[in-house]
Symmetry: C2
Subunit: 279 residues, 2 copies
């Protein structure tokens, strides 16, 4: 299955890397897994058709197979298909229509409630829960599990898109999904059949020189790499008939002020209200 | 490439799900990607052989292909191969020998320094950086990227293991890797050729009833599902000649008190010293 690469590389590998970076990056191998990973694109237009039976269980089997810190498994997932509940999640996320279109949204939970339940049964108190570290561990566990589910969904020909905007109001999500104390949604993952009438595209990313450091962190190549990515982003947006904007300008817009965070500046207080102690 | 499944399922799919859960879970499809995901196992014994040229770039191409919140790309990775530097990372991680054995550790960075550099160039201040949300976004971006790299590595026949214990002392890691302000290691990923003389095994995970909720969160099936997982964990540990212990007991040990966190109870203060403002 795995093809170690010596030059010349197969056209498929060359194309996949060039689509991602808008510049050549020679790869060390090529196989169906790498092909699937490099071809990722977010899907924001769906057909309403339901998913095949067993789809959720298959995605969760992939999620369960992800690594988890010390085998704590500090994540859960709520599979939401009910149209009214999806409508409410779409509202919380600022009106993202694809949450209403697709038949499923998986809501990924940083879950320390299960650990607390285990401790209650054992008659002990887990002092280790009451730290920023332990919330972060749970959020990372949830992210690793979710990413495996995303890759599994794409391998089945399904479309996906993460919904970070559930963090605009995690308290509303917790109420809607009846989450226990010490459990919070970190993001959603919409899953459905892509509407093939709406084209999707591989989005360009920062050149490797901007994200990959050897031995120690170096800022030397940063300005030039960002300038290249600004041009690549502008070219991509022109192809997609989007308003012209560089990556640098998009980044500044997204983080410029508190208003741009759309409620997320209150995340720490909200997590504390949901029972996390961020010591 | 993708095989939609109708009963009876191929033996490979049945076996993969049963190895992961120690009980049957019918899958909705089967393909090389699902096979790779479900077969994940952590590797803690390596041969010292170097990696093929281009391996790091291939893993980073997979990482770059992961979704990133609002395309902010708030992560970086430092590829460490130098033996002295790996030795120091092994020390920070409490003496994990596999960091010394394997030829590479990728250190994944929650990176808001690059965003700040972009803003400096534009002559603006990003008020949005100064919140817990934005650190969390960066940590999640790093986790999604790293998980893609892990899957890519496994597809190339390489072994991997995450090193969460870099969070025992992120300040020491920052000094060792010369990280700028607003950049912190969230975990490492050891990559190398597995020592085939040391067997690895698929670790059992909580039954789906304990982690998958439909429409809303339910604690009803939890006690029974955890009891099954305790038995599965005990069976696994007996097979691996590990001291007998249930999953519940392992979990309690890991989070019982501050000492069990091995320095990580100071994470919030450390992140603040590294330049993150966790408003």
């Amino acid at each position: 299955m795995n093809i170690p690469l010596t030059p010349p590389q197969p056209a498929e590998a060359v194309d996949a890397a060039s689509r991602r970076y808008r510049e050549p990056v020679p790869l060390a191998g090529w196989n169906p897994v790498l092909a699937s990973l490099l071809d990722h694109r977010s899907v924001r237009a769906y057909r309403p058709d339901p998913l095949a039976p067993g789809t959720v269980e298959t995605l969760v089997a992939a999620a369960s197979s992800a690594p988890t810190s010390s085998n704590i498994q500090a994540w859960s997932v709520v599979a939401v298909t009910d149209p009214d509940r999806r409508d409410r999640l779409a509202e919380i996320a600022g009106g993202q229509e694809h949450i209403r279109q697709a038949p499923l949204i998986l809501v990924w939970i940083a879950d320390l409630a299960r650990a607390e339940a285990v401790a209650d049964t054992a008659g002990v108190t887990l002092q280790g829960l009451d730290y920023t570290e332990t919330f972060l561990l749970a959020a990372i566990d949830a992210a690793l599990a979710a990413q495996n589910a995303l890759i599994a969904a794409e391998s089945l020909g399904l479309g996906t898109v993460y919904i970070g905007a559930l963090r605009n109001d995690p308290k509303a999500v917790a109420e809607l999904l009846n989450l226990p104390r010490r459990a919070a949604a970190v993001f959603g993952l919409v899953v459905g059949h892509p509407d093939r009438k709406v084209e999707t595209a591989v989005k360009p990313r920062l050149p490797q020189q901007a994200v990959l450091h050897h031995e120690t962190y170096s800022t030397a190549p940063l300005a030039e790499a960002i300038a290249r990515h600004d041009r690549a982003t502008e070219a991509f947006r022109a192809e997609q008939s989007l308003p012209p904007q560089s990556w640098s300008a998009l980044l500044v817009d997204r983080l410029r002020d508190v208003a741009a965070l759309k409620g997320r500046h209150k995340l720490r207080q909200t997590l504390e209200r949901l029972g996390f102690i961020l010591g």
